[in-house]
């Protein structure tokens, strides 16, 4: 590990100013991903600015509904928060499906959004990786890609976004509140992560020095009945092969409204807009759910190793939406 200076930030503006002024500085919060990356040599900051003790650790109700989640709220605390459990169960379920109890006690909301792919080639500094070392190539293209993305990939990168939390949040139309040297701005989470294209090293729309201070979730009545299902290689403590976050509003057998997002299959938390459009106004039947999933997956470009994710995604979408539709009509 390369030596680095360490500072504990006492206010957000100061933290932003410090990192903005130093191109070799990085923020650190829980550190559950970054400290591992320091050990692996994936990142080599000369200066860490610790934002974990900034007063951004509250979940509050917004005026007019919805929640504001401070950036340093721990994943465990967010999952257990009474309002999240009640208003957005999909978010609690997604958080609880991720990592382990020990990690959820430390990992923060902002850090979770910025966690990096678990692509084995990205994490191996001896392998070619356009994300870690732009222009070096992509070892995954000729490698083992069971855990890689099938949606949003490019000829330069197949890495899947690893977050569960973000999949639920993108389904819920979350907004990311960002503080920069010139003040605050808001970015829809759906547009916060970039597709890899020919610059997989650019993962989000954040500029150097910009700090996530909160995530806001608008009110959504149907989210009270929402669900998250994660399919993985072992029963717990593993990244998703496929995951589905959904909220559904059915009346008289017709889909009035739906939110659908996918994890484990996209290069970013994947809002399934094509499927949503196919569903609204149509029948709430398994056949319609499968057809909508098929429409979303028409754009998929799988490898031999991960082509199984297409039928697995379709089945999981059908299972989750059918479950919600059944609940709805009870």
């Amino acid at each position: 590990m390369k030596p680095f200076a360490y500072d504990r930030a006492t206010d957000a503006d100061g933290a932003v100013a410090t990192v903005t002024a130093d191109p070799d500085a990085m923020f650190v919060a829980g550190g559950t991903n970054l400290v591992d990356h320091l050990k692996l040599g994936l990142v080599t900051p000369e200066h860490l600015v610790d934002v974990s003790r900034l007063p951004l650790d509250q979940v509050t109700e917004r005026e007019g509904g919805g929640l504001r989640i401070g950036a340093t709220v721990r994943n465990a605390d967010l999952a257990a928060h009474p309002l999240v459990r009640q208003l957005y169960p999909v978010l609690s379920h997604a958080l609880l499906a991720g990592a382990s109890g020990q990690l959820r006690n430390v990992a923060t909301t902002g850090g979770n959004l910025l966690q990096r792919t678990r692509c084995a080639y990205f994490q191996d500094v001896t392998a070619a990786c356009n994300k870690r070392d732009p222009g070096s190539g992509c070892a995954a293209l000729s490698g083992w890609t069971r855990y890689h993305a099938i949606l949003g990939t490019s000829s330069d990168c197949l890495a899947a976004h690893p977050s569960d939390m973000a999949v639920a949040m993108v389904a819920l139309d979350a907004e990311v509140v960002v503080l920069g040297p010139d003040g605050e701005r808001r970015v829809a989470l759906e547009h916060f992560h970039r597709l890899p294209g020919d610059r997989p090293d650019l993962e989000t729309v954040l500029e150097h020095g910009e700090l996530i201070t909160a995530v806001e979730i608008p009110p959504l009545a149907m989210a009270r009945r929402s669900a998250y299902r994660k399919v993985r290689d072992r029963a717990s403590y593993a990244f998703a092969l496929v995951s589905v976050a959904a909220a559904l509003d059915v009346q008289d057998g017709v889909v009035r409204d739906v939110r659908l997002a996918l994890g484990g299959v996209g290069t970013r938390p994947w809002r399934a807009r094509v499927a949503e459009e196919a569903l609204v106004g149509g029948p709430a039947t398994e056949a319609a759910f499968a057809e909508a999933a098929r429409a979303e997956l028409a754009a998929a470009s799988p490898t031999d190793d991960n082509a199984f994710k297409i039928p697995m995604t379709r089945s999981t979408v059908v299972a989750v939406l059918s479950g919600l539709a059944g609940e709805e009509t009870r």
């Binding site: 030596p3 200076a5 504990r8 257990a80 609690s92 609880l96 430390v106």
Partner: protein
């Protein structure tokens, strides 16, 4: 680069200067000689390094020591009360919840933290109803302890030990 750190470890205050790169785990083991938390994978995948930080279970291998200035750290060695084992430790002994023992201090700290989470009403990934009281059955224990691996495969006795400790 060095930085000063003051923290309490198993009830004793320590002040030391650490290289900023030092993890909590390495500071405990190499600087304070507290070898209770174990270095298994050193990448947050096995749970052998689990300690309690301000009462909550965490992985000491993924925390920077300098970020824990002012923290109260409890390792499995610090759970004893005089000569008396902590109820979770005693349950592991009574149920033979180990073979080689390497993962055990992490398992014990994780179980202590986990039982507090249950008392606080935290749901888990296998809790069907997020708002219902937690019934700590085998599925719940296995899910909540999934961050602690045991290469000997002593899981069935670990579950039994935790079930008993939960009843205590």
């Amino acid at each position: 680069m060095e930085a000063d750190l003051t923290w309490r470890v198993d009830g004793v205050e320590h002040t030391l200067a650490v290289d900023t790169r030092t993890t909590v785990l390495d500071a405990l083991r190499d600087r304070l000689g507290n070898t209770s938390p174990k270095k298994g994978c050193d990448h947050g995948q096995c749970g052998a390094c689990t300690v309690l930080v301000d009462g909550r279970r965490q992985l000491s291998c993924l925390g920077l020591a300098v970020a824990h200035d002012g923290s109260e750290i409890t390792t499995a060695a610090g759970l004893v009360d005089g000569d008396e084992l902590h109820p979770v430790q005693q349950a592991f002994v009574d149920h033979d919840g180990l073979q080689c023992g390497y993962c055990t201090p992490g398992q014990v700290c994780s179980a202590v933290g986990m039982l507090d989470e249950v008392k606080a009403g935290h749901p888990s990934a296998v809790s069907d109803d997020l708002e219902a009281d937690v019934e700590l059955d085998e599925d719940e224990i296995r899910e909540r302890m999934s961050g602690n691996l045991c290469r000997c495969g002593a899981y069935s006795n670990i579950v039994a030990a935790i079930e008993e400790a939960a009843r205590a």
